[in-house]
């Protein structure tokens, strides 16, 4: 079945998750959809599978426009979606999972379904005992079950959202064989991934998305550097910046392991000096989050030590790290940072040094007004946190930081911000750096990483696979490392 998406728009509040997307997938092709996290791939696939309805745009199947108001409509139209976490009911048996989504029938025909199941299994080389509880299946097997269930329901377009997360290499090989076989039978397969090598190995065409837009579509194979460039953009000329003399050690990790039981993980040793900026690169969920939480004391490493300004704080409470002037600003500004329902004034009171029992609201408001002015926050001292835009929330968070900081840990300092706010944020951060603060930040923006870091740590599947000197690396090298390809160079 051929599939065409025409000018799909989907906004969530001010966020343009899909901003005029048009893609054509010919029947019988394996079509890759590549892009970093937050590029809008998942949103687009949810629109296509009836989970979200698009604000505007058309979906055309075999030349006929369709309207998909629910996943039910989508599957009836022949579009089957395999979610990143397969939608399998763990307490149920294989056969119950298989029949669960079947439309119409009031009476359960387990026997008939079991016959269908074994026929499909035979055809695609899977083996299932219909009575096994689904919780005993591996993630790969759950995917297989989900695929044949979708086929049974009549899917002729199959969408797979990051299907190789959490499955073994063997199962991945088997999955790829199955997908190729399906494409040969005339099925259209959309393969959503951020892994370059998988798209290269599997797909005939690939569409690359960034920031809610399609930035390119090519026939494969092409050199991987070309894909990296499409995903992350042209390398921008890096401006000279003020050199800051590095001082004494502010954050020292000594043969630290993040989790026990990860055999592939090499112990991490790292020494961050005062005034140094460390960029942390990697696809979302590759371990950066755990790494930052260990550095700020919210988690304890499985092995090794964490020292702040020469003092070993391993295993100490997060508030001890806070006392040592370590501060962590996670990505979720409204989840882990600001407090919904409280005003800017109240935030400054909470973050302030003043610990008098009674609050002097008059003084607090005046101070908040000054801060709002000084940090050019669009809002008033009485605005609540959730009423501010992302950029202004970030401004409030930076304004709430204590004047003295040893280490500042940040996740995605400029995600979702317009260029003006992003530049402003870095102006602030570089100002801190000149004051001697060490900055460790995670980002998905390679430009940002290259422009502002002294050193870059690249994470891949829960470990560091590269430590690069920002001065002599480039977007290609980092991009390939992020995609897990160490052969292209690097440490």
């Amino acid at each position: 079945m051929s599939l065409e998406l025409r000018d799909i728009h989907k906004h969530f509040g001010p966020v343009r998750a899909n901003d005029g997307i048009s893609i054509t997938v010919e029947s019988g092709t394996l079509h890759g959809l590549l892009g970093e996290n937050g590029a809008g791939k998942s949103t687009l696939m949810k629109v296509l599978s009836g989970f979200h309805s698009a604000d505007s745009g058309e979906i055309v199947l075999d030349g006929k426009q369709v309207k998909l108001a629910s996943p039910d409509d989508a599957i009836a139209a022949g579009i089957g979606m395999l979610h990143q976490d397969p939608l399998v009911f763990l307490p149920f048996s294989v056969i119950d999972n298989f029949v669960l989504g079947s439309p119409g029938a009031q009476r359960l025909d387990r026997r008939g379904a079991a016959a269908e199941l074994s026929k499909l299994c035979e055809r695609y080389g899977f083996t299932f005992d219909p009575h096994t509880p689904a919780r005993l299946l591996t993630v790969g097997e759950r995917q297989q079950l989900e695929i044949i269930r979708l086929l049974w329901l009549g899917a002729r377009v199959l969408i797979l959202d990051e299907p190789t997360t959490g499955i073994s290499a063997d199962q991945r090989a088997k999955l790829f064989v199955t997908l190729k076989a399906l494409a040969d039978e005339g099925m259209s397969v959309i393969f959503v991934s951020h892994k370059l090598e998988e798209v290269e190995a599997l797909c005939q065409r690939v569409t690359v998305m960034t920031r809610g837009k399609v930035v390119g579509e090519v026939e494969l194979p092409v050199p991987p550097e070309q894909l990296v460039e499409m995903m992350f953009g042209q390398m921008v000329e890096i401006q000279d910046r003020t050199e800051v003399a590095l001082g004494r050690s502010h954050l020292a990790l000594d043969s630290m392991r993040m989790a026990s039981g990860l055999l592939s993980e090499d112990p991490i040793s790292l020494d961050v000096k005062s005034g140094e900026v460390i960029g942390v690169a990697g696809m979302e969920g590759s371990g950066q989050d755990t790494f930052l939480r260990i550095c700020c004391g919210m988690r304890t490493p499985a092995e090794g030590t964490v020292a702040i300004a020469g003092e070993d704080l391993t295993g100490q409470h997060y508030h001890e790290f806070l006392n040592a002037d370590v501060k962590y600003l996670p990505a979720g500004r409204l989840e882990e940072g600001l407090i919904e329902g409280l005003t800017i004034t109240e935030h400054f009171v909470l973050a302030g040094e003043d610990s008098n029992f009674f609050i002097d609201w008059g003084a607090a408001r005046t101070r908040a007004e000054e801060q709002v002015d000084h940090y050019t926050i669009k809002g008033t001292e009485a605005s609540t946190a959730e009423s501010l835009s992302g950029g202004n929330q970030q401004r409030v968070l930076l304004a709430m930081l204590p004047p003295e900081l040893t280490v500042l840990l940040m996740e995605h300092p400029t995600r979702g911000l317009d260029i003006e706010s992003a530049d402003w944020v870095w102006e602030q951060l570089l100002g801190r750096r000149e004051g001697g603060t060490s900055i460790v930040f995670a980002s998905a923006d390679l430009d940002e990483l290259l422009r502002y870091s002294d050193r870059i740590l690249v994470f891949f599947s829960g470990r560091i696979i590269g430590e690069l000197d920002a001065a002599d690396t480039n977007v290609d090298e980092i991009g390939l490392l992020i995609g897990g390809r160490t052969s292209g160079g690097g440490a």
């Binding site: 997060y318 508030h319 407090i339 919904e340 003043d354 609050i359």
Partner: protein, 355 residues
């Protein structure tokens, strides 16, 4: 904005009015008579007429525990906790006060002070237990509190038919009356204790100040609205949660004292009278604002005192009072819910049109 504010009041009021009138019509009476009977039975008609001192006293002395428990619940609600254990905290306060009243002999002012203190401590410790189960044991405060409610309830029954049984007869009707020196001082011909009313007003004012002007209150509010953010800001979140449970428990415990030494004058089973649960509804209706607790809990106290008159005067069953209470609360919540839903829809509509 003004439309939002207006609909926030008008919509719930309309829903309440319609459902209460419907209920009364279904019960076979006009809507006016039961209301008059309840008012007459609780504060007299015209209000506070001569000779109504006894029932006015009763009404005030039921207002005290409901309002005190409500004041406490405002604290735990602001900390983001559903303190269902409040019933147990009232009961433990009553038990502790009863123990002092029975076992300690002292001059009256001192003894009264000690019963109040004991009630506060008893309720506070019982509240602390709920908090500890939550913070250290990972037991959701709703389940922990409910469990401890049952424990406290059983403990009263055990004391009443066991160690503190009335001399001669073991009866579930209660212990022997407390000595007079232990009772809350009251006005003549009435149970009305100005001391209890005064403490309740102080508690409500105190809670108002807590969230209006203190850092402690602001931090509690922060913890209740977003624990991860508060933790990251350096607020010891667990300690604040325990603090909220202790404050609430102490106020509930004083409510228990008032029930024991100011209303029943002895320990009876289920001495909390369900006022803890009722207070949860009061606080939700009052939108966590102490000032609104005053009239709402007074209204509930009036219904509690006045509704037995329904069967005597109108040939309606006395339980209609309870049904009325339930319908009232449900319809008010429904109205508030609708108003909030409409406000949100308007907000969303306004938000998308402006971007």
């Amino acid at each position: 904005m003004t439309w939002t504010r207006l609909s926030n009041v008008l919509l719930p009021a309309t829903v309440v009015f319609v459902s209460v009138v419907t209920l009364l019509l279904l019960a076979g009476t006009n809507p006016w008579d039961p209301l008059r009977v309840i008012v007459e039975g609780s504060i007299g008609w015209p209000p506070f007429e001569e000779g109504s001192a006894r029932k006015v006293g009763d009404t005030f002395m039921l207002w005290v525990p409901i309002a005190l428990a409500s004041a406490g619940l405002i604290v735990t609600f602001n900390a983001g906790m559903w303190n269902i254990g409040i019933e147990g905290q009232i009961i433990m306060g009553a038990i502790a006060a009863a123990w002092v009243a029975r076992e300690v002999s002292a001059p009256r002012p001192l003894l009264v002070f000690l019963t109040i203190l004991a009630g506060a401590v008893g309720g506070m410790l019982w509240g602390l237990l709920v908090g500890l189960l939550r913070t250290a044991g990972g037991v959701n405060e709703i389940f922990g509190g409910l469990g401890l409610d049952f424990v406290a309830l059983s403990l009263t029954t055990y004391l009443i038919i066991g160690p503190w049984a009335r001399s001669g007869v073991a009866s579930t009707s209660g212990t022997d009356p407390f000595p007079d020196e232990a009772l809350l001082p009251s006005l003549a011909n009435s149970k009305l204790s100005l001391l209890a009313v005064g403490i309740t007003v102080l508690a409500l004012v105190g809670v108002w100040i807590l969230f209006r002007g203190t850092l402690y209150g602001l931090r509690l509010k922060a913890v209740g609205r977003n624990r991860p953010s508060s933790f990251l800001l350096g607020i010891p979140t667990n300690r604040y949660l325990l603090g909220a449970f202790m404050i609430c428990g102490a106020l509930a415990g004083i409510a228990g004292t008032s029930q024991a030494t100011g209303f029943h004058f002895k320990l009876i089973p289920a001495i909390s009278g369900g006022f803890g649960f009722l207070a949860i509804l009061v606080v939700l209706l009052a939108r966590f604002r102490p000032i609104w607790v005053v009239p709402i809990s007074f209204f509930f106290a009036m219904v509690a005192v006045g509704s037995p008159g329904l069967s005597l005067r109108l040939d309606l069953h006395g339980s209609l009072g309870g049904v009325l209470q339930g319908v009232l609360v449900l319809s008010a919540m429904l109205g508030l819910g609708w108003a909030a839903y409409l406000a949100r829809r308007r907000l969303i509509a306004g938000g998308t049109s402006s971007t």
